[in-house]
């Protein structure tokens, strides 16, 4: 072994310096990413691959439905209106549709706190929905059943309430 005492010393200092550098980097990362702060429980148990699209094709592919809440940002405890647009799969607006609304919180096993209803057909495939309210933060499902032209189909929208 030819290693001189100085070299040996150097190795130890390099090692100590390396550990200190790791501590600095870890601390910096913790600081930047706000480690230690717990996340809100309202998101716990929500499937990670939920699709929050506001335009969706109904389950059997009969209609294409777009939802447009009149409340922006969508928030809890406020009764508000929505607009729905219904088209055929070829993009033709669907008027004279019978529309029923349902929904709830899948994680809590309860439905909507109100019964939203279509109160007006606005023409060109648009409908006014009144009486929408959410009373908890988290993941809600909003179900729309559409019956028109002798066909009936359903679609479920996912919503994330803050």
């Amino acid at each position: 072994m030819n290693t001189s005492p100085t070299k040996q010393n150097d190795t130890i200092w390099w090692a100590v310096g390396g550990i200190a550098a790791v501590v600095i980097v870890a601390a910096a990362l913790w600081f930047v990413f706000g480690g230690g702060a717990s996340s809100s429980s309202s998101q716990a148990g929500v499937p990670s691959d939920l699709d929050f699209a506001t335009t969706r094709t109904t389950n059997q592919g009969v209609f294409e439905v777009t939802i447009e809440p009149a409340l922006d940002p969508l928030s809890i405890n406020q009764l508000h209106q929505w607009e729905l647009q219904v088209k055929t799969k070829d993009g033709q607006p669907v008027d004279d549709a019978e529309i029923t609304i349902g929904g709830g919180m899948p994680q809590h096993g309860h439905g909507l706190p109100t019964q939203p209803q279509v109160t007006e057909a606005l023409g060109n495939g648009s409908y006014r929905v009144e009486g929408v309210r959410f009373n908890m933060a988290g993941w809600w499902e909003f179900n729309v059943n559409i019956a028109a032209n002798g066909q009936s189909d359903d679609v479920t929208f996912n919503l994330s309430l803050q």
């Binding site: 010393n9 190795t11 601390a27 996340s39 405890n77 309860h110 909507l112 109100t114 019964q115």
Partner: protein
Amino acid sequence: MKAKIFAIVLIVGALGAIGVLSFVMLSQPQWTDEEIDTLKSLWIGSLGQLPPDPSNAYADNPAAAELGQQLFFDTRFSGNGQVSCATCHQPDLAFTDGRAQSKGIGETRRSAPSLVGLSYSPWYFWDGRKDSQWAQALGPMEDANEHGGNRTQYAHLISENYREAYEAVFGALPDLTSFPASAGPVADAEASDAWRELSFEDRETVSRIYANMGKAIAAYQRHIQPGASRFDEYVQALLEGDKEKVKIALSTDEVAGLRLFMGKGSCTQCHNGPMLANNDFHSTGTPLSNGVFADRGRTDGMLEVIEDEFNCLSKYSDADPEACVELRFLPPNGSEFLGAFKTPTLRNVAETAPYMHAGQMATLEEVMDHYNEAPAGPHSHTDLFELNLTDQELAQLVAYMKTLSGPVFAP
């Protein structure tokens, strides 16, 4: 030598970083942006203006509120001359009475809820059997166990003692001399018989005065509002970036309780918004009232509000039927709400013991244990789930609850 200098510099740097981090962690808790949003939503500063009551054209009439305040405290409006609204809604107890089951002339089946900030709710009573504050005020007045009086008695009292104040707001009183001293749709057989003998028009004349009494009382009650609590001061300091104030506004345990309230405790699922209440109906598996009564709660309340003669769609309401949105969009399936009760505000909760709709729990500690264990209750159903909180965490939640006390403003 180079290595030594380099290492020393890094060690100093590392110690510095640890020091800064410890200081940050100890001096103020880390809230994520999402949590700051939630804190702001719970803050009293988010309360906003009083929501309008389209069913009460006098809701914001100062003269009506003044009359209502007098009626609220007047014990003559009762069967025995000893009960007023303030008997069960005492200003010193955040407008509650400290009883498990409130007591007017007799004992009622439920605990009088706080009136603080209640005008932000679309529903009244624990089961929401009334859809306005004025219609609510009329319920206890002719309940045999509460005020125990009746409509013609009250109309005569208005005519004899409040004529000027009443007429200034609602217009001329009709001539009541031919009306019986006691008549109304009440449990008392004599008064009830006398009521049935009145013509339809006479009953409506009296009921109109009665409804106006409710509207005046509601105009007063609208002004019973919460002031800022220590919790609100903490959130305000956070929002303003006042670090010194953030440090002193709440203790470490209280902040830990707040974190649990919004997180693991899931309390904000229902106790949300600036009144810390979503004003909706949830089944929390609370025990039998008085050990015997399995209260059906909202399932009954929903049926009653549809039938209520003073609801938003009634002839005594000032609202355009289109504006009666709560009734128009009532959920169809009342059985889903079996044993569900309205989420009460947590503002001033430390002063409103005992707790739950029939005061089944004497202390906040008992309430925390109930939520932690989530028993199914008398209807074999609860919306709650086990929380698995430790004794220390439960104590921290109680510590946080106690930061929600603030002044109560009433005219």
